[in-house]
C-alpha cells in the first residue's frame, strides 16, 4: 500500500509487468529518453534499456502497426498514443487489423498489445486534443477498452491490460495524471468487471473515468443513497453488475464525458431498459456533455463535461419525479 500519483501508478504497473515478463516492450513518441510528455514512463528506459523501450518517429500508423506485428510474434507491446485523437491517423491497425487477427488466423495468432492513450477535457488543450472517443472502438468484436478513474485502477487495469492476450485500449483521463491515491500493488483488475465506488438503494449511477469522481462528489453533495458503479471496462462492460444493481434500485443514470449523441451510455441504457423494463421505477437516462466540440475558453470548457452540480440537480429531479431531467443547455435555452 502507498500513496502515489495516477501517472506514477501507470509507471509502476508498466515497470512491474516489464519485470515479470520479458516479452513486454514499450514504445511511443518521446516515451523513452524524455520519459513521456505526461511523465508516464519515468525511469522505464533506464531500467529496461533501449531494446525494450523506444522512442518512435511521429507515425502512429507505423508504430501502432508495428505493435500489432510484434504482438503476433509473441511480444507484449505497450504503446502510448499521446492524445487519443492521434489514433484518427491509425485506426485501421486497431479495428481492422489487430481486432481481426485472431479470427482470421483461427486462433493461431493473438494480438496481446496494449494501447495507452490520454483522453478528456478540462485542461485547455482545445477541440482536437480533449475528446474521449470511446465510440471509435464500439461495435468492434475482438477489442477490449478500459478506463481508470483513480491511481488504484490506473495501476490495476494497466497490469490486467498487459497480461491480457487480446488487444486492449486503455483510455487515461489526462486530468487525473497528477492526482494522488492509495495503490495496493497486489490488485490486478479482472477485465470486464466493474468496481463499486459506493453502495446505496435509491439509484444506480454508472460512470467511467473522471466522471466517477464527479458522480461521487454529487453523491456527497446531495446525500442520496446510490450504487456508484465504476465500469472500468467499457468493452465488454459488466452487464451483471449493472443489472443486479438496477434490480435493487429500480433507477439508472449514466454519467459520461462524451457528447450525448452516440455516446457509450446509450448502450447501457438500452440494454438495461430491454432487460428490466417492467421493474424500473423511472426512466433510465444519461447525463452527458452537449453535442459540441470541446471549447478552449476555461469557463466554457468548465461547462462541457457534467459537473457535480449538474449531476446532483438531475439525480435529485429523477428521484422526485418520473420524467427525465433536462440537461442544463436545454434549461438555459442553448439548444435542443
Amino acid at each position: 500500500m502507498g500513496a502515489m500519483r495516477f501517472r506514477q501508478a501507470i509507471v509502476a504497473a508498466l515497470a512491474d509487468e516489464m519485470r515479470a515478463d520479458s516479452r513486454v516492450i514499450f514504445f511511443g513518441e518521446d516515451v523513452a529518453e524524455a520519459e513521456g510528455p505526461f511523465k508516464t514512463s519515468e525511469g522505464i528506459l533506464e531500467e529496461f534499456g533501449s531494446s525494450r523501450v523506444r522512442d518512435t518517429p511521429i507515425s502512429e500508423m507505423g508504430f501502432t502497426g508495428a505493435a500489432v506485428g510484434a504482438a503476433m510474434m509473441g511480444l507484449r507491446p505497450v504503446i502510448e498514443i499521446m492524445f487519443i485523437e492521434f489514433l484518427g491517423v491509425a485506426l485501421d491497425q486497431v479495428v481492422t487489423e489487430a481486432a481481426k487477427t485472431r479470427y482470421l488466423s483461427q486462433g493461431a495468432l493473438s494480438v496481446p498489445m496494449t494501447i495507452r492513450a490520454s483522453v478528456g477535457s478540462g485542461l485547455g488543450f482545445g477541440c482536437q486534443h480533449s475528446q474521449t472517443l470511446e465510440h471509435w472502438f464500439a461495435s468492434t468484436p475482438g477489442l477490449k477498452v478500459l478506463m481508470p478513474s483513480d491511481a488504484q485502477s490506473a495501476y490495476s487495469l494497466l497490469r490486467a491490460a498487459i497480461q491480457d492476450p487480446d488487444p486492449v485500449i486503455i483510455l487515461e483521463p489526462r486530468i487525473l495524471y497528477a492526482e494522488r491515491g492509495e495503490v495496493d500493488k497486489n490488485i490486478v483488475s479482472t477485465i470486464g468487471k466493474a468496481r463499486m465506488r459506493s453502495t446505496g438503494n435509491e439509484i444506480t449511477i454508472v460512470a467511467l473515468g473522471q466522471m466517477v469522481n464527479v458522480a461521487e462528489e454529487a453523491i456527497k453533495i446531495s446525500g442520496i443513497s446510490a450504487d456508484l458503479i465504476d465500469l472500468q471496462t467499457i468493452i465488454p462492460w459488466d452487464r451483471d453488475a449493472v443489472i443486479d444493481s438496477v434490480k435493487k434500485t429500480g433507477r439508472l443514470v449514466v454519467v459520461e464525458e462524451a457528447p450525448l449523441s452516440g455516446g457509450w451510455g446509450s448502450e447501457i441504457v438500452a440494454h438495461v431498459t430491454s432487460k428490466l423494463f417492467s421493474t424500473l421505477k423511472s426512466p433510465p437516462f444519461r447525463i452527458t456533455a452537449p453535442d459540441v466540440p470541446v471549447p478552449f475558453n476555461g469557463t466554457l470548457e468548465g461547462r462541457y463535461a457534467p459537473t457535480a452540480a449538474d449531476v446532483t440537480r438531475q439525480i435529485l429531479h429523477a428521484l422526485k419525479s418520473s420524467d427525465v431531467p433536462e440537461p442544463w443547455w436545454v434549461l438555459e435555452g442553448m439548444n435542443r
Binding site: I25, S51, R52, R54, T56, P57, S59, M61, G62, F63, T64, G65, A66, A67, V68, G69, A70, A71, M72, M73, G74, L75, P77, V89, D92, Q93, T96, E97, K100, T101, R102, Y103, L104, S105, Q106, G107, A108, L109, S110, P141, G142, K144, Q163, D164, P165, D166
Partner: protein, 332 residues
C-alpha cells in the same frame, strides 16, 4: 496428406519443384477464375497469373520460420509458401477445411506453419505489421526475417512511408518487396505515381534498395538473397522492387480492357513459366514432353480437387462465434 511445411521444404534447392509449383499456381488461378465466373466462388478473387516467379523466388529463399505479410492477392503467395491447393481452394470456397476454416475467404489466407500471416485486404496495412514482426525478432535476438509483400499502388499510401521510416530508424530485419505489376486496380501506374522506379523511394529513409526482374526466378532469388542476408545479419531493411506484370484483370470479372494495345502480349513473351522452362530445358532438367505432362497432370489434379472441395463441409455456425477473443483460462 503432405503438410504445408513439407510442401515448402520440397522447394529448397529444387528448381524443378519450383517450376511445378509455378505451374500449380498458374492452373490454380485459372480454375479459380472459372469457378468464380460460374458462381461457385462468391465475393472476390485477385489472381497473380504472370507473377509466379516472384512468389516462388520468395518461397525458395525465405526460411519457413521467416514470416510474410501479404495482401488480398493471396492465392499465389499462399501456394508458393506451402499451403496446399486444397486448403486454399477450400478457403476461397468458404469450406470448414479451408486454411481459415472458411470464415476468411479469398482475401484472407493464413498458415503460421510456413509463416504466412493473415493476409490483409487493406492497402499498406501489412507494411508496418511486417516491421513489427521484425521488431520482435530483433528484441528476441532471433535471426528470423519478416517480409512485406505489396503492390506498386501501395507505395502511395501513408503506411508504406511510415513503415519504411520506422524500419530504417530501428534497423529492423525486414525486407519490403514491392510487386510492381504496372497496375493498381484499373489504373496504370503513371496515372497515380509520379515516378517509374519505385525502389528509389527508399532514399527517403537512407535504406538500401534494388530493382529486379520479377519474371525470372533466378533474378528474384539473387536479389532477395542479398536483402534477406542483410536483414538476417543485422544489416537492416531493404526495399526490393520486382518488375512484374499482371496478366489477369485486377479482381472478380475484370477483363482489363483498359490495357494499351499490345502491352499484355509484350509481357507474355517474358512469361515466367516460359523463362523457367527455357532455363530448365537448357539444364536438361526438363523436356517439352515433360512440360506437357506436368501441366496435364496439374489440370487433372486441380480439376478433381475442385470437385472434391465442392463437397467439403461448411463451417459450423459456432465458427462464427469462435476465435474472436481469447478464452481467458488459456492465459497465465
Amino acid at each position: 496428406m503432405t503438410s504445408s511445411l513439407e510442401r515448402r521444404n520440397a522447394l529448397y534447392g529444387d528448381d524443378l519443384a519450383c517450376y511445378e509449383r509455378m505451374v500449380e499456381i498458374r492452373e490454380f488461378e485459372k480454375i479459380t477464375n472459372a469457378l468464380f465466373a460460374e458462381g461457385t466462388i462468391r465475393g472476390t478473387t485477385h489472381l497473380a497469373i504472370g507473377q509466379e516467379a516472384l512468389t516462388l523466388g520468395m518461397a525458395s529463399t525465405l526460411k519457413p520460420t521467416d514470416v510474410v505479410a501479404a495482401t488480398y492477392r493471396s492465392h499465389a503467395i499462399g501456394l508458393a509458401l506451402g499451403l496446399s491447393p486444397q486448403s486454399v481452394l477450400a478457403e476461397i470456397m468458404g469450406k470448414a477445411t479451408g486454411c481459415c476454416g472458411g470464415v476468411g475467404g479469398s482475401m484472407h489466407l493464413c498458415d503460421m506453419s510456413v509463416g504466412l500471416l493473415p493476409t490483409s485486404a487493406i492497402i499498406g496495412a501489412g507494411i508496418p505489421v511486417a516491421a513489427g514482426a521484425a521488431l520482435a525478432f530483433q528484441v528476441q535476438k532471433s535471426d528470423h526475417v519478416a517480409v512485406a509483400l505489396f503492390g506498386d499502388g501501395a507505395t502511395n499510401i501513408g503506411a508504406f512511408h511510415e513503415g519504411l521510416n520506422l524500419a530504417a530508424i530501428w534497423n529492423l530485419p525486414v525486407v519490403f518487396v514491392c510487386d510492381n505489376n504496372v497496375y493498381g486496380e484499373y489504373s496504370r501506374i503513371e496515372k497515380t505515381t509520379p515516378i517509374e522506379d519505385l525502389h528509389i523511394r527508399a532514399e527517403s529513409y537512407a535504406m538500401p534498395h534494388m530493382s529486379l526482374d520479377g519474371m525470372d526466378i533466378h533474378a528474384v532469388r539473387e536479389g532477395l538473397i542479398e536483402a534477406i542476408t542483410r536483414a538476417r545479419t543485422g544489416g537492416g531493411p531493404t526495399l526490393v522492387e520486382a518488375k512484374t506484370y499482371r496478366f489477369s484483370g485486377h479482381s472478380r470479372a475484370d477483363q482489363a480492357l483498359y490495357r494499351p494495345e499490345g502491352e499484355l502480349e509484350a509481357w507474355q513473351k517474358k512469361d515466367p513459366l516460359l523463362v523457367t522452362e527455357k532455363d530448365l530445358i537448357a539444364r536438361n532438367l526438363l523436356t517439352t514432353e515433360k512440360i506437357d505432362a506436368i501441366k496435364e497432370d496439374m489440370v487433372t489434379k486441380l480439376t478433381a480437387l475442385a470437385t472434391k472441395v465442392a463437397g467439403d463441409p461448411e463451417p459450423e455456425l459456432a465458427a462464427m462465434f469462435s476465435n474472436i477473443w481469447t478464452p481467458i483460462k488459456a492465459e497465465r
